[in-house]
Symmetry: D2
Subunit: 335 residues, 4 copies
Amino acid sequence: MNVVELQRFGLEGLVRGERPAPMPGPGEAVLRMRAASLNYRDLLIVRGDYDPSLRLPHVPVSDGCGEVVAVGEGVTRVSTGDRVVASYILDWTHGPPTPEATARRLGGPQDGVLAEFVKVPAHALVRVPDALSDEEAATLPIAGVTAFRGLFEVARIRPSDVVVVEGTGGVSIFALQLAAGVGARVIVIGSSPSKLERARALGAWATIDRTAEPAWEERVRALSDGRGADVLLEVVGGDNVARAARALRMNGKMLLVGVLGGSVAQIDMLPLFRQYLSMHVLSVGSRDDLSALATALPALGARPVIDRVFPAFDARAAFAHLESGAHFGKVVLRF
Amino acid sequence: MNVVELQRFGLEGLVRGERPAPMPGPGEAVLRMRAASLNYRDLLIVRGDYDPSLRLPHVPVSDGCGEVVAVGEGVTRVSTGDRVVASYILDWTHGPPTPEATARRLGGPQDGVLAEFVKVPAHALVRVPDALSDEEAATLPIAGVTAFRGLFEVARIRPSDVVVVEGTGGVSIFALQLAAGVGARVIVIGSSPSKLERARALGAWATIDRTAEPAWEERVRALSDGRGADVLLEVVGGDNVARAARALRMNGKMLLVGVLGGSVAQIDMLPLFRQYLSMHVLSVGSRDDLSALATALPALGARPVIDRVFPAFDARAAFAHLESGAHFGKVVLRF
Amino acid sequence: MNVVELQRFGLEGLVRGERPAPMPGPGEAVLRMRAASLNYRDLLIVRGDYDPSLRLPHVPVSDGCGEVVAVGEGVTRVSTGDRVVASYILDWTHGPPTPEATARRLGGPQDGVLAEFVKVPAHALVRVPDALSDEEAATLPIAGVTAFRGLFEVARIRPSDVVVVEGTGGVSIFALQLAAGVGARVIVIGSSPSKLERARALGAWATIDRTAEPAWEERVRALSDGRGADVLLEVVGGDNVARAARALRMNGKMLLVGVLGGSVAQIDMLPLFRQYLSMHVLSVGSRDDLSALATALPALGARPVIDRVFPAFDARAAFAHLESGAHFGKVVLRF
Amino acid sequence: MNVVELQRFGLEGLVRGERPAPMPGPGEAVLRMRAASLNYRDLLIVRGDYDPSLRLPHVPVSDGCGEVVAVGEGVTRVSTGDRVVASYILDWTHGPPTPEATARRLGGPQDGVLAEFVKVPAHALVRVPDALSDEEAATLPIAGVTAFRGLFEVARIRPSDVVVVEGTGGVSIFALQLAAGVGARVIVIGSSPSKLERARALGAWATIDRTAEPAWEERVRALSDGRGADVLLEVVGGDNVARAARALRMNGKMLLVGVLGGSVAQIDMLPLFRQYLSMHVLSVGSRDDLSALATALPALGARPVIDRVFPAFDARAAFAHLESGAHFGKVVLRF
């Protein structure tokens, strides 16, 4: 079968390869892939920045939607013909994360979904509701699940909460849609007026242009009657963490989902003590979170935002587009 | 000033009375009432079934919306001219309930809101958003807050949860609107086809006519892929509690909000043990819950359902209408 | 190998049988049993009162301690020679209970531990600390784990909490020891002065003889400054549930662990509403709960209370002793 | 009456002063002080490092035990003659912290307890159990409550948890005693062999000398079977935060209680993401936490560790002793 292989680190290391088609073992299923979507993590992996010791050649990309074409012994969870999406962390089915459950991950260290056929444990699969297209379903496993678990399992937001979302990356857009969908007042912080306008169209209650207002945390406090936000999704890292802390209310929660601006956070902690803050590292979620998300999106009238669809075997162009940062929404591949 | 007084128990004991207008003490505010709404508890009080030792004459009814016309010393929370709604449990401002915080209650033992002017502690007041009318705001304090706290603070529902709501009383309709508003799949159990049709129009994912299907819990299980519901709002009491338990999934939550069908529940507990259920008595909520609800409803695009509006001083007719059980939505009084 | 088999329901149906010794499959371990302990559930099973459709002959009893004598392919969790205790609910390793994880149970429907050798999934095993004897370890899986999870995972008690424990059965004694061990003030309700005296020796802060004081809930309230207890372990069922509710403080938690006095609880719910109670059905716990308990008991300076030790193949006498109700502490079998 | 006043910043600014004795207003009580205890915060205040804008002269010190000698109108919570301790955050009675409830604090901005008589709101008072001496009770309000709330309300530790405590300051010693008291396995990290020996005598399960083992987090992992600690009390700040994070298990909790080593934490966040950590800023607790602590300590058989007792009006010497860092346990003042 045809696959996309990373033969050496770098975008130009992505080439078409050939592998034997997989057969399902006990408890496993084989999918014919229909669509995949890219995450920033996939780009780090391809560049060699995520895990320089990754064994090559490697089939990249974690998130994909496919059709079940074969199941192994003992599989009752899915049947041939089912349209499914695979959970990125293959053995984390439910409950809190454990080292055992979070070891195997699609797209690294395990081979990913840029292949005509992919074999996964059946317990990692979730049936896709009719209301979601293949491309939309393919966007859920990392970005969607991270936002969903962060908001509903970790922060446990409730309607009327003030939720600050930084940027308009994949997780941030899902967080905006989900939080606005349940009646939270979402404030999006960004630097591109046109992207902020799109955020408002997706349900943002307010937006703040950080270029125009570098001390955006003060406006967050003003918008929330001086109290500060209940929850903040922090994706920048570095110095921004301290600013984010000042935007939160007493007893507020900071969800840490990324370090785009520098992996070393410098946090002046003295001012934080009177705020009784908590900070929670998010890292995706379980199969049950993915299942809940797939049901919830149509119920909330929200559709995953897709920036552009590339042919699956033109993965290099798709990655280049992701790298450019020009996108708003997910970059998708179609088989 | 004019008031409606209960001079002896029974609907015919409701008569117009006269009282001196109240003056605000330190930390207090006086409201000119604009609208009030009735709860089943008000009817029990008027009949003498709630607290036979209640001292008469009594000004009944707990829920109301008014305009601040005077504030006492030290009040900064509200100002003259603010349109506000008062929290039923006057001193429960936030956090969990305590005996101290839950002693004083509007409409019994304290005098209620069927008066031209009403004096309350300022910490019990919440400003009404422009998006809500006086009549709509008046429906929130008991029925709305009970549903809001039950779903978001006790059960902590999340989008995609299956939530069963029994009946179409005041709390049940709010629970339907709020749960559907956050993407839960709401199943309403009822006995009136026309009321169930209205429930579907308000967002119910499914409805079950218990007259046609007395073993409705089996259909709940079928609708939820054999798992059972995540959360169930139980308002009937009596034998129905056991049936409700069978409708829930393992580790599911039953919210107990009423005992219309008999205050003595007979629960066969043996079958419950394998289900790991928990049961939670709901009893309204705090001022902060009321505040969150008032912000949340417009954000969710939901409006309180008002059945009929009576003149405030025609309270007897309003109570008779509530007693008839013919209503769908809240019975409201207008000053 | 030798086993104890239940060939027909009733104590006299317990006879010695012979079975082939088990071999471990992949992921499994075989234990040479050293000790077992009886629970009330085992007695119900033997009598045919628990599951009349149980397939006979059946090897009874769920709780046991043994030595690993063989492991199957892929087992790294335990090694030959390890002294271990097996978790009653074989596949519930951690997190909340699910239908999948709670289906297989030792001692019914699966064969139990009254056999020279027993085969179990290795993920169900917990190594026994040196501080616990074989007999002590054998008492943990049902009674100990139910008390541990109830107090620390469900009720989340903290030092100084007032905890009411009804009776002196297996779960109740563990609850007394664990709660007193973490600085809770434990009140034991019982009807035998000599058993209550032993409860005080085990750390009870107060005891109440329900024969002398049938309205024991009033004394609970008096002992807790009029507030009521934070947590109550309810094992009686029937009418007692209502009494237990009145013994709790506002927002208190009732842990339901049994129905000795009648499986149908009649609960007058009206008085409960002002108390904001929650009721939680307990049903044992996970392998991780068992592991935490085995570590915690020695750390708290608590030892399982063993009433009497019988030879394993004299199971009938052991069951008769349990049935007599004369015991205080666990009835144990020694291989 | 006599007081100790800070007339200018610096230890030499502490002098004896004279003030009129306070009279209780409505809801207030006046205490005749018997003992006080020092916290690091008091030293920062005296030096002018905590709040340079503090209005002088100021009566310092937050924590004290006294006898009620007068109560104002409406006070029922305490009576003349009661021995009581005052909650540092005067209006935070229960539940989560709010800006309103946490504004008034003893010892800054409000005047503190180094006075013969002190006036406080009665709702801030907790009666002292007979088992605690005046000096012991005086050590509870900041250090004891911070440890208690952190362990039992925020981290919700349970018996058998591995808890890492950094250092042997006031909060750390309380955390050691409380965690060990409930059967947790406490690992103390320190740099003084003699202080670590005292930590073992107080119940530490293990100690690590960070001078001898700078990479102490590796030993924490080894001691916890490679998993890492469940909870860690971080008091150092700066670079140490990253090291602390590596000592924790997946989904573990870091409690941030101080910044002795530098208020700017530099946290390399990339390695944290796979650990799913949460970090929680602690800042003391409510009056109900103080009440629970006062009851819990004797129940756990733990006594506050007192390093040395000074005469109250020799506060300067007591502060100098605290500043030296030579103490192990609390520095106390006796009236």
